[in-house]
Symmetry: D2
Subunit: 481 residues, 4 copies
C-alpha cells in the first residue's frame, strides 16, 4: 500500500477482495474485451463480411492475455481517448482482427455494458451476503423465540415480547430489501449496442439499411454478455434511472442494518445482548474492561453513508440533458463502486454479528421482574373490562396509581409498590391472588410472540432460504475489528 497517498478505507479496511476486484481496472478492461468479442462475433454471425471467423477466434484467444497498461496509457496520452487506447492495446494482441475491433460502436458500448456487468456480478455477492445474514438471524430467532423480554416503545419498557420475535422484525426488513433487489434485477437489461445516440445509425450503414439485422445485433450482443434483453430505447447511454433503482434498493439494506445495529447497541448498553467479541479484543486503552459494540457502531457509521447515497444517483439521472451529458461520468465512477463496497462492508458486519450474538438471560429476567407489575396493568384493565367496569374510568384509576408507583422507584430508589396500591383501592375490587398470578409467568404478557416467530420463520423465511440454498455458507464473514 502506497503510504504517501490517500487510501480509501472502504478498500483498505472494510470490504472483501471479491468485491474490490469487480471494480478494479483488470475487471473493467477485461469486460471491455468481452464486449468487443461479443460485438465481433455477433457481426460475423449476422453476415457482416468485414468480420471473419478467424478474427473472432483470434480475439477470443487473446481475451485472457495480460493487459499492457503502459502501452494503453502512452497511447491515451497521445490520442486522449481511453476507449481507442484500449482498442489499440487489444489490437496488438490480435493483428488480424485489429481493424474490426469496436467496429461501428460508440464508447458507451463498452462503458455502459461493463457497468451493467459489474453491477450484475456485485449484486450476486450482495445477495449471497444478505441470504447468509437472514439465515443467521433465522437460526437465532428460532433459538430465542420463547425467551421473554421487555418490549420497548418510546424507548420505555412496554409490554413484553420475545427475543426471537424482535429478531423477526429485522428479518422482515431484510426480506423486503431482498425483494427490492430482485425487483431491481428484473429491471436490469444490457445497454446492448444502438450507436452514438441510440438510433442504430452506424449499424444501419454497416448492414446497408437492414433494420432487422441491427435489432438482432443489439440482442445478440446482449445475450452474449449474459443478459436476457437490452433496454428497448436509449440515448447515448441506458437511462440513468436504472442506477437509481439499484441504489435505492441497496440503500434499503443500509436502513435495515442501521435499525438492527442501533437496537443491538442499546441492548448492549442494557447488558441484555451483545455482539461477538474476539478473545483478545481490547475495550480501550484507558478502560480495558469495556465491551464496546464497535462492530455495530461501525455498521451504523457505514449505514449512514449508504442511506444518503441515492440522492447522488437521483440528481444525476434528473440532470441528464437530451441524448446524454457527461456530468454522469465522474460521479458514477465514484458512487457506483462506493454503493456496492458500502453494502458489502455492512453485510459482512451484519453476517459476522448475527453469527455470534450473545444473550444475557439473567439480565433479561432481572429487567422483567422490575417492570412486570407495570406490565400487568394492561391485563388488569382487560380483566376489569371483562368484569363489566367502564374502560375509560378504570384506565384513569390505574394510571394514577402507576404514576405514583413509578415516582417511588425513580425518586426514592425503592421497589415497585404498584400492586399494594391497587389492592387498597376499593373502586377496583382486585384480588391479591389474581395479581400475583399475573407476574408469575412472564410469558403470559408476551402474547403470541413465540408462535408468531415460529410461523414467520416457517412461512416467510424458509421458502427464501430454500430458494437461495446454494448461497448458504458460501460467504466470508470474517472482519477486521
Amino acid at each position: 500500500m502506497e503510504k504517501d497517498v490517500y487510501q480509501d478505507p472502504l478498500v483498505s479496511r472494510y470490504t472483501d477482495k471479491e468485491m474490490q476486484k469487480i471494480f478494479s481496472e483488470n475487471f473493467k478492461f477485461r469486460a471491455w474485451r468481452m464486449c468487443w468479442i461479443a460485438l465481433a462475433e455477433a457481426q460475423m454471425e449476422l453476415g457482416l463480411k468485414q468480420v471473419t471467423k478467424e478474427m473472432v477466434e483470434e480475439l477470443k484467444k487473446a481475451a485472457e492475455e495480460e493487459i499492457d497498461y503502459k502501452i494503453a496509457e502512452e497511447k491515451e496520452k497521445e490520442i486522449r481517448h481511453d476507449v481507442m487506447s484500449h482498442v489499440y492495446e487489444f489490437g496488438l494482441h490480435c493483428p488480424k482482427a485489429k481493424g474490426i475491433i469496436h467496429l461501428g460502436a460508440t464508447s458507451q458500448f463498452v462503458g455502459d455494458n461493463t457497468d451493467l456487468i459489474q453491477m450484475r456480478e456485485a449484486l450476486e455477492i450482495i445477495k449471497k451476503d444478505l441470504v447468509n445474514t437472514i439465515n443467521n438471524l433465522a437460526k437465532f430467532a428460532d433459538k430465542y423465540k420463547s425467551l421473554v423480554t421487555l418490549g420497548y416503545t418510546h424507548s420505555q419498557p412496554a409490554q413484553p415480547t420475545t427475543i426471537g420475535k424482535r429478531v423477526t422484525l429485522y428479518i422482515q426488513d431484510l426480506l423486503m430489501d431482498l425483494k427490492q433487489i430482485e425487483f431491481a434485477e428484473s429491471m436490469m437489461k444490457a445497454r446492448g449496442e444502438k450507436g452514438t445516440v441510440g438510433t442504430q445509425a452506424s449499424y444501419l450503414e454497416l448492414f446497408n439499411g437492414d433494420y432487422e439485422k441491427t435489432k438482432q445485433l443489439d440482442l445478440l450482443v446482449s445475450r452474449k454478455l449474459g443478459f436476457k434483453d437490452s433496454f428497448s430505447v436509449s440515448g447515448q447511454t441506458y437511462t440513468r434511472k436504472f442506477d437509481t433503482i439499484i441504489a435505492k434498493a441497496l440503500s434499503g439494506i443500509g436502513e435495515s442494518a442501521n435499525k438492527f445495529a442501533v437496537d443491538l447497541r442499546l441492548m448492549s448498553t442494557f447488558k441484555i445482548m451483545e455482539e461477538p467479541f474476539e478473545e483478545n479484543q481490547t475495550g480501550s486503552s484507558a478502560m480495558a474492561y469495556k465491551r464496546n459494540p464497535m462492530r455495530c457502531e461501525r455498521m451504523t457509521s457505514l449505514c449512514r453513508k449508504l442511506i444518503n447515497l441515492p440522492i447522488d444517483f437521483s440528481h444525476t439521472h434528473a440532470n441528464q440533458w437530451f441524448e446524454r451529458t457527461l456530468d454522469d461520468s465522474a460521479i458514477r465512477r465514484i458512487i457506483l463502486p462506493q454503493l456496492f463496497l458500502l453494502t458489502n462492508a455492512i453485510l459482512k458486519l451484519y453476517q459476522n454479528i448475527s453469527e455470534g450474538m450473545i444473550v444475557f438471560d439473567e439480565q433479561i429476567k432481572k429487567y422483567l421482574r422490575e417492570e412486570l407489575p407495570f406490565m400487568a396493568t394492561e391485563s388488569i384493565l382487560m380483566e376489569l373490562v371483562k368484569n363489566g367496569k367502564d374502560r375509560q374510568e378504570m384506565h384513569q384509576i390505574i394510571k394514577e396509581h402507576s404514576f405514583e408507583a413509578a415516582k417511588t422507584v425513580k425518586l426514592e430508589g425503592k421497589a415497585n409498590d404498584l400492586f399494594e396500591r391497587l389492592l387498597k383501592d376499593t373502586r377496583l375490587q382486585l384480588d391479591k391472588e389474581f395479581l400475583n398470578s399475573l407476574i408469575e409467568k412472564p410469558e403470559r404478557f408476551a402474547g403470541a410472540a413465540a408462535i408468531q416467530t415460529e410461523e414467520y420463520l416457517k412461512n416467510e423465511v424458509e421458502p427464501i432460504l430454500v430458494k437461495y440454498s446454494d448461497f448458504i455458507g458460501k460467504s466470508d464473514s470474517e472482519i477486521r475489528v
Copy 2:
C-alpha cells in the same frame, strides 16, 4: 384562506382538491371510524360476546355523521390523548356501542391503518395522472416520430434523432416509475391489529388464549379495510421500511419529470419546442414578449424537492428503536402528505404540458442544415472504412478538418466549409456527389429512430395504456400558471 397565517403553497397553489382531501382531517377521522367499525364487526363475527350485532349496526349508521371537532378537541385538552378523544366523540353518536369502540386496540391501530388507506387512495390518483401523462406523450411521440432533429450529447450537436424518438426516452422513464409504483403496491399490506407491541397480547386475553382467533381478527380487519393481507409481523407499527419503498418509487417520478422539464426548457431556449401558453399569459412585466417556460421551471423546482424527500423517510426507518419510537410521528405528518402533494403537483404539470407542446419545424430544420456537414462525418468514416481505409487514420484526418471548419464558424461567423476541405484532401479521395447526397435527406442520419419509436409505442407503451384504459381521460390537468 386565513391571511395572517402561513399557507402551504402545495395546497394553495399547486395541487388537486382530490389529493388535498385525502390528507385532510375529515378523511383521517372518518378512516378512524372505518377502522373501529371493521374491528367491532370482526370481533362480533369471531364470537366475542361483548360486541353485539346491534352495536355494529349502530356504529355503521353513525359512520357518516358529522364529526364534532369541538367536542373532540375539548376532550383532548382534558385527557391529552387524540385517539381516546375521538373514541369519545364517536361514542356520543353510538350510545350502545360506546363501551366497545377501540376494544383491545392500541392507538397505532387507527393511526397506521389510516396512513396506509391514505397512501392507497393517493396512489390511485398518482397512477391516474401518470398514465394520462404517458398517454399524452405517446400520442405526441407518434405524431413526431419521423421529424428529424439534431441529437445532443454533451449539450453539443450530435447525430440526428427524431423528436418522437427523444420522447420515447421520457416515456421509458415513466414506465419504469410506474413499475416501481406497482412493485411498491405489491408490498403494501394493512397494519391490521396485533396489539401494543405486535404480540396480540390483548386479543389473546379477549379471546381467552385462542391464537387462531387473533390471527383471524387481524386478517378480517385488514380485508374489511380493503387490503388483501396484513404485515406478518410488526412492532407497535408496521415497519417504516414500507414508507421508504413508496417514497423512493414516487421520487422516481421527480427524477423523470426533471429530466423532461430541463430538456424542454433547453429546447425552448433553442426555439425548437415550447410548452403550451395561455392566450393571455404574460412573459414578464418588463419584457412582455417573452415566452418563459414557467411550467417547466415550476416542475424542475418541485421535482428537486421531491427528489430529496426520500432521505427523510430513510433516516426515519433507520432510526426506529425496538418495537417503536415516536420520532417517526411529527416528520411523517409532514412528509407523507408532502410526498403525494408534490408528486400530484408535478404530474399535473407534466400532464398539462404534454397535452399541448408546440413544435417549431422550421427552426429544427434550420439547425439541422447548419450542422449536417459535421453530422455526416460518421457516415463518411463508415464509407471510408468500407472502402478499406484504416479507421483510426481516417478518423484523425476528418477530425482535423472538422476542427478547422468549426473554428471558421465560431471565430469568423462564416458558413461551414467542411465539405470543401474534405474534397481537397487527397488522402481521402472523396466524391462531391457522395458528400452532397449525404445531407440532402436528414432522415438518413437519424438511423432507425422513426421505426424504433413506432415499435416502442406498440410493444411497450400500448399494453400499459390498455391495462390502465379506465384511467385515461379521467384526470384533470388544469393548472394555475
Copy 3:
C-alpha cells in the same frame, strides 16, 4: 380550520403564531407596499420629477389599509401577473400615486426584498428562542455542575463526569449555532433595486444616464427597508447562495437539538433524567404509567427534517442559470417558510424542555456505585505507573481482571468482584485501603468536570447572555403535547 383540505402540521400543531404570521399573505403583501413606498420616496428624494412628495405621502398613508384580496385576485386572473395585480390593488388606495407605483422596477424588486425582510424578522425570533434555551441550559448546568454521573462512550459506562458538564456540551453546540447565525446575518444585505437583470438599465433611463443616482437609489431603498447595504452585484435576483448560508446555519440547530434530544431520551430510558411532564399527561392508552419522552421524540423527528433541508437550497443555488431561472420559485415558497417554522418548532420544544428537566439523583448514584470499581481502573493504572510499573503491562493485567468481573455481572447477575480480584494479584501489590478510598468519593473520578462547567458558564456563556439580555424571558415556550 378547513377540515376537507390538508393542513400543514407545522402550522396547525408545532409553531408560534408570531412565526406563522411572518410567512403569511398579509405580511408579504404589506412588505410589498413598504418596498413601493421606499422606492417612490427614494426616487423623489433623488429628484425624479415624476414622483412628488404628495404621492409619497399618499402611499404612506395607505400602507396600513386593508388589502382587498378579491380585487387583486380578479386582476390576476385577467393579467396573469401577481405583482402587477397588487400594484393595481394598491393603486386603488392611492389615486394620485397610482401611476408611479413600482416605477422602473422589476417583479423581483418586491419579491426578493420581501423574502429578505421575512428572513430578517424570522431570524430575530430564532435568536430569541435560542438565547432563552441557552439561558435555561446554563442555569441547569450551574445547578448540577457537581452532580457526578457515569460518562458514556460507545454507549457503555465510562469515566464519570457531571450532569452540568455534560450540559455544557449541548450549550457549546448552541453557541456555535448562534455564531453561525450571526455570521449569516453579517452576510445579509438587501437585494435593493438594480433592474431586470441587475444592470440598472431602466433606472439609468429614468435618471438620464446618471449612474451615481442609480447607485444612490439602490442604497437608499435598501436603507429605508432596514438594511445596511445591498448586494453589490446581482442578476435578476440576489444570489441564492445567501439562502444556503441561512439554511445551513439553521440546520445546525437541528443537529444540536437532535443530539440533545436523543441523549435525554436515553437518560429517560436509564431513568436518570426526564423531560417535564404535564400534570394530566397520559403515557399511552394501554400503558398509562409510562412517561414517554414525547417532546424529545418530537424534537428528534423535526430535527431530522431540518437537517435534510439544506440540500434543497444548495441544489437550487447550484442550478440557477445565467441571470436567473424560475426554478427557484416554487421550491423557495415551500422551503423558506419550512426552514423557519421547523427551527421555531424545535426551539420551542428545546426551550420548554430545558426549563423543566427532572433529575433523579438516587438513580444516578445507583448506577455509579455499580460501575465505580471499573471506573477506578484508570486511577489504579495511573497509580501503578506512578509507582514505577510499566504502563502497558499493568494495563494488560487490569484488563484481564476487568473482563472477568464484567462476565460475572452479565452472565451470573452477581455483584462486581473486581477489587477482590485485583487485591489477590501479587503482580500489582495493591492496597485494600487505597482501593476503597477510590470509590468513596465519586467526584474524584469526574476530574475537573465541576470547575470546567463553572468556567465555561462564566467565560463563554455569560458574555452571550449579557449581549442578548433583552431577549431573555421574552420567548413563549408553551407547547401542545
Copy 4:
C-alpha cells in the same frame, strides 16, 4: 497502481498529489508523533518529573525516522489497538522515552488533533486554489467588462448585460464561499488534551490535583500543534459540529462551481464561450469535430457529489450519544478526505478553465442583433412613460406586438418585424429614428454593467487579492482531461 483492486478515481484521476498526501498514512502517523512530542514536551515544561528533557529530545530526534509499518501492524494484530501499536512502534525508536509516550492520554488525543491538523493544512490548499480562481476570473471580467451580450432570464433572451458583469456574479459567489471558509477557520481549535471523557481526570492525577496545570497542558499542547486555542469543553472528542461547519463551507464551493459550469456549458451550446481545449484533445471517436465541454461536465459531476456531502456530516454530529459513540469513525474516515479531495478536484478544474476561457465575439453580436428589437421594448416603455402615457396600457400594447413578432420568427423562420409593427400603431406615436437609435449601440441596453464590473473588481475583489497575494500563481492548475 494495483490492478486487481478498486482505485478511488478521486486519487487516481482528479486531485493533486499535495492533497492526496495530507490524507495519507505517512502524514497521519507522523502527526501522531507530533502530538506525542507536544504532549511530552508540555508535560516536561509543566514540571512532571516522569518526563525528562532527555526523553523529549530523543522523541524529537526520532520524529522524522521512517515508520516501520510492518512492526506496527504485527503489534496491532496482537493487541488490537491501533494507537497503542504505534506507541509501541515509536517507542522502538526512543528507548529512553518509550515508557512516557502518550502518558495520560486517550486515543482521541492523537486521533482528533491529527484530523484537525489535516483539515487545517488541506484548507490552505483550498484557499490557494480558490484565490487563484478568483484572480483568473477577475482578470477575465476586467477584459470583457464592456462586451455586451444578451442576458438570460428563464433561459430566454432578456435585457443585455456584459460578459464581464456576468462573471462578477461567479466571483461574488466565490467570495462568499471564501468568507465562509474564513469563518469556519475562525471556529477551528485544537482538541487539545482533556482525557477520556473530557474531564481532565487522568491529568489531575498526574499533576496531583493541580487544575491550573491541566489547563496549561491543554493549551500548551494545542499551541505546540499550531493552534491558537483548544475547544473549551469536549467529551471524548471535539464536537462533531465543527466538521459540519467545514463541510458546509466547502460544499458552498460545489454550489458556486456548479452554477458556473452549467452556465459555461450552456454558453458552449450557444457557441458564445468555451472552456479551453488542448491541442490534441478529441471530441469523441465518432464525432471528431465536437468540442465537448468535458471539464465543465466533470465539474458539474463532482460538484453534485460535494453538494450532497454535508448531510453525512450533519447526521454524524446529530447522532453522537453522550460523551462519544464510535459511529463517527468509519464514516469520517471516508467523508473527511472525500470532502477535501472533491473540493480540490473541482477547484483545479475551475482554475484551469478560468485561465483559458474562449470568447466568440462575433457569435455574441449575432445573437444580440437578432433579439435587440425585443430588448428595446423596456426602453420604449420607459420613453412612453416619460412622455406621459399610462404604464400599464402601453405595456399591454407592446406586449401584443412583441408576441406577434416572436411568432413570426419561430413559426415562419422570418426576421424580427417588431419595429415595423410598433411604428404602424397610432396609439404609440413612435418615431422611426428613435427606434433605430435604440439598437445601434447595444451597450445602451446593458445599463451600467461595465462600470458595475469595474467598481466590483476594485472595491470587493482587489482587497481580497491583496490580502492573499502570497497565494497567487502558487497553485497548479494542470489537469488530466
